[in-house]
Each structure stands twice: as C-alpha cells, then as structure tokens.
Symmetry: C2
Subunit: 114 residues, 2 copies
C-alpha cells in the first residue's frame, strides 16, 4: 500500500538476539573460549544469575551456544560458542572498532551527576 523499505526479516531476527541487554557482552566473553557459568558471570559485573541463565538458554535455543555437562564433582558445565556463534566475532569486531572511534571515556564508569 505505502512504499516501505524492505526490512530484511533475517536482519530483524538477528537484532532480536543482539538487541537484548547483556547478549552482546555474553557473546564477547565467550569468544575467548568455553566458559563456565560462574566465569561468564565474573566477567560481566552487573549481570545477575537469573538473567544469565535466561540468556544462555535463549542462545542455546538459537544454536549460538552449546552446553557441555561434565559429570565430575562438583558437576562441571561449560558453555561454548557454536560456529554460528563464533562467526559473530565479525559483528563484535565492528562494534569494537566503532566504539574505539566514537565513544569517549572522560568520565568514570558510573558518573554521579546524572
């Protein structure tokens, strides 16, 4: 009816994943290799256990992450990126490049005067 830009549904799908809080940081941390739950949590300061659990499940459902269970004592569970997940490195690199060019960091991490 009206002429609208043809928004690629794959692009929309991609942003349903990336456009959620924490997802980008989780993937970035996992790009350095398989990680245990607590290691991911440790590397992403304000991320809660509850949300990390949810995100890992979503990413697993999306085929971006695999969950490995090692029946040791205590049980060891590792999360690893699939090829699909590792290929997001190109996206993360682009974000990093943009951030390096454009984000200033004069103020400390949590500015008070807000």
């Amino acid at each position: 009816m009206t002429h609208r830009i043809d928004m690629c549904p794959r692009f929309e799908s991609a942003f349903e994943i990336l456009g959620k809080r924490w997802t980008g940081l989780i993937i970035r941390v996992m790009l350095s290799g398989p990680q245990r739950f607590k290691d991911i949590a440790k590397n992403i300061p304000h991320l809660s256990d509850r949300v990390l659990t949810g995100r890992l499940k979503e990413l697993e459902a999306d085929g971006i992450v695999i969950r490995h269970v090692y029946p040791e004592t205590p049980v060891r569970i590792e999360y690893e990126l699939t090829e699909k997940g590792r290929d997001l490195k190109h996206v993360m690199d682009a974000v990093q490049a943009w951030a390096s060019d454009w984000i200033e960091m004069d103020e400390p991490e949590e500015p008070k005067g807000k």
Copy 2:
C-alpha cells in the same frame, strides 16, 4: 583480585545503545537518509510511537542522530544520522552478513506452533 577479562568500557557503552530493543532497526532505517518520525514508524512495523520518541531522544543525546525542525505547515521534523551514526553502517553490514549466513527463514514471521 580474581583474574577477569578486561571488558572494554567503550564496548560496553556501545552495547548500552545497540543492546536495546529497536535501536538497531531504527539506525538501519535511518541509514537510507533523513527521515520523518512517521516514516521511521512506518518502516518498523511493531514499534510504538512512545518507544520511538524515547529512542530518538536517546540517540540524539548520544550524538548519533540530529533533529531538524522545518517551520512549515504542518511543521516538518526530520531526523538525520550524524557521522557517528552513519559510521554504524559497518556494524549493520556485519550484522546483515551474519544474518544472511546463519538465519533461516523457513517458517513465517510469526510461527504459530510456539
């Protein structure tokens, strides 16, 4: 204390912007040139006015978008990406490439059997 990966604060900042629902799609639509409020809304189906207003303000505050007011009748307001915003094209291209490689679209946009 513990050894954690040094999460680049610029990267975190970038994902505070990109890691919000709709932001990626809004920027993608704006990459095709200055747009009026209603045009952006028209090109992003399920995005509400309320959220679009908020996102445009955030993006303006982040220096990614400029708001131009043309005192015509009725008043015409156009939103345009700044250089900082246009430079996000590289990120969007990487997302598009990843999505083209990895996102399947067998099922219709809103699968029923979920």
